[in-house]
Amino acid sequence: MKYIDEFRDGEVARGLAAAIRAEADPDRRYHFMEFCGGHTHAISRYGVADLLPANVRMIHGPGCPVCVLPIGRVDQAIRLALDEGVTLCTYGDCLRVPASDGLSLLKAKARLGGTSGDIRMVYSSADAVAHARKHPEKQVVFFAIGFETTTPPTAVAIKQAQALGLANFSVLCCHVLTPSAIASILESPEVRRYGTVPLDGFIGPAHVSTIIGSRPYEFFAEEYRKPVVIAGFEPLDVMLAIRLLIRQVNEGRAEVENEFSRAVSRAGNVKAQHLVAEVFELRRAFEWRGLNLVPYSALRLRKEFADFDAERRFHLDYRSVPDHKACECGAILRGVKQPQDCKIFGTVCTPENPVGSCMVSSEGACAAHYTYGRYKDFA
C-alpha cells in the first residue's frame, strides 16, 4: 500500500542499521524511550531492537492506552452493565483488561445472562451513538479511553448526541494526556523509588502528534534537556528517529525534531483541538495504572455537557484498586523493568489469560515481547 510499503523496505532498514552503528559512539550507552504503544508494537514486530548495536537500548513507555487504564475504571464500566443495566459500548482492546474479582468486560459479558445490561464492542464512537439512536429504550454508555487520538472522536460523538437530542447516550470519560505522562515519568517520586531510569531521549508518538502537533514537546526538550524525535509508525520511521536521537545526543543538543512531517505539523490539528477544548476540561488528578495519581493528566466533560457524563448520570464513585501482587506493569510502564523481569511473564500471564494490562493489547510491552518472541533475545 502506498505510503506504507516504502516505509518497511528491508534493504533500506539494513542501510539505516549500518548508519546507526556508525553513528553510535561505542564508548557511550544510549537509552531511548518510545512513548507510544504503536512504536512498541512496530519495534517488536519488525525486530528493530535486533538491528541496533548493543549500546543502544529501547525502553517501552506508557503510551499504550489500555495498559494505563486502572482497574477502578474498568470496574466502573462493569458495574454500569451489571448493576445499572446499561448497554456499554467499548473498543475491542478494553474487553480483556483485568478488573477486580478476576473479572474483565469480556467475563462480565458472560455473566449478564438474562439481565437488561449489555456489553458491545464498537469500532468507533459513532457506532455507539448510532446504537443509542436505534435503541431509545436503552441507556447506552460509551467507555471512552485513550490518548489525544481517540479524544476528538469522542468529542464529535458527544456533539452529535447533543445535536440529536439523545437522552439515552452518555460517556464514561477516561481520556488521558500524553504530555502529563511524560512529565510524570521524568519527575515523579515513584521513579525514584524504582530507581532512576537513564533516559537520553524520547521517540514522540505518531497519531497523538497529528492532533497535538510537535509544539507540546518543546517544553521537555528545553526544561529537561531531553531530545524528542516524533516518528511515524513504520519500522523505518522508528529507525530514522533513533538515528536522529543518537546524533542529537552526540552533539549535545536537546531539540524537538519531526520525522513524521508527512502528517504532523508544529500546531497540529487545530480543528480537533478546538472541539476537544469545547467539550472537555482538565481533571485535577487521574489514576493511571502503574503511574498512580497523575495531576492534570486526564479529561472530563464540561458542565455544559453534563447530561452526557455517565459519571454524573449514574452517580459513579471511583475506587482505586491495587494491581495483582506479582505484576510488574507499574515498573515496566516507567521503563525501569522489562517484561521478562516479571516472575509470571509467559507462564501464568499470557495474552490468552492476562494478569496485568501490559499483556492485553498488542501494543502492550508484555504482549509485544510474548507474541514476537523477542523475550528470548533479551533474557
Binding site: V12, A19, P153, H207, L240, R262, A263, V264, K271
Partner: protein
C-alpha cells in the same frame, strides 16, 4: 465522499466508511491518517517524499540517484 462528513477510504483494498469531521478540505484522492473510524489528518505527499529521501541519504543504503520509492 458522502453526506454528513463521511467518506469511503481504501485500506489496502478494503473499503471502509470513515468520518471526516476532524479535518478540513479533504478531496477525493487525498491520503489521510485514519484511527478509530476518523481521519485525524491529511498526509502531505511532498513531506513523505522528503522523509523517504532522508532514509536513503542517512541510511546510505541506496546508491546515488536510485529512486527512493519502489
Amino acid at each position: 465522499m458522502r453526506e454528513d462528513d463521511n467518506a469511503v477510504v481504501d485500506l489496502a483494498g478494503v473499503r471502509k466508511e470513515i468520518s471526516l469531521a476532524l479535518v478540513d478540505d479533504v478531496a477525493v484522492g487525498d491520503y489521510v491518517i485514519v484511527h478509530v473510524g476518523y481521519a485525524l489528518n491529511k498526509l502531505d505527499p511532498a513531506e513523505a517524499a522528503k522523509t523517504l529521501a532522508l532514509f536513503a541519504d542517512l541510511g546510505g543504503g541506496l546508491p546515488d540517484g536510485a529512486p527512493v520509492s519502489r
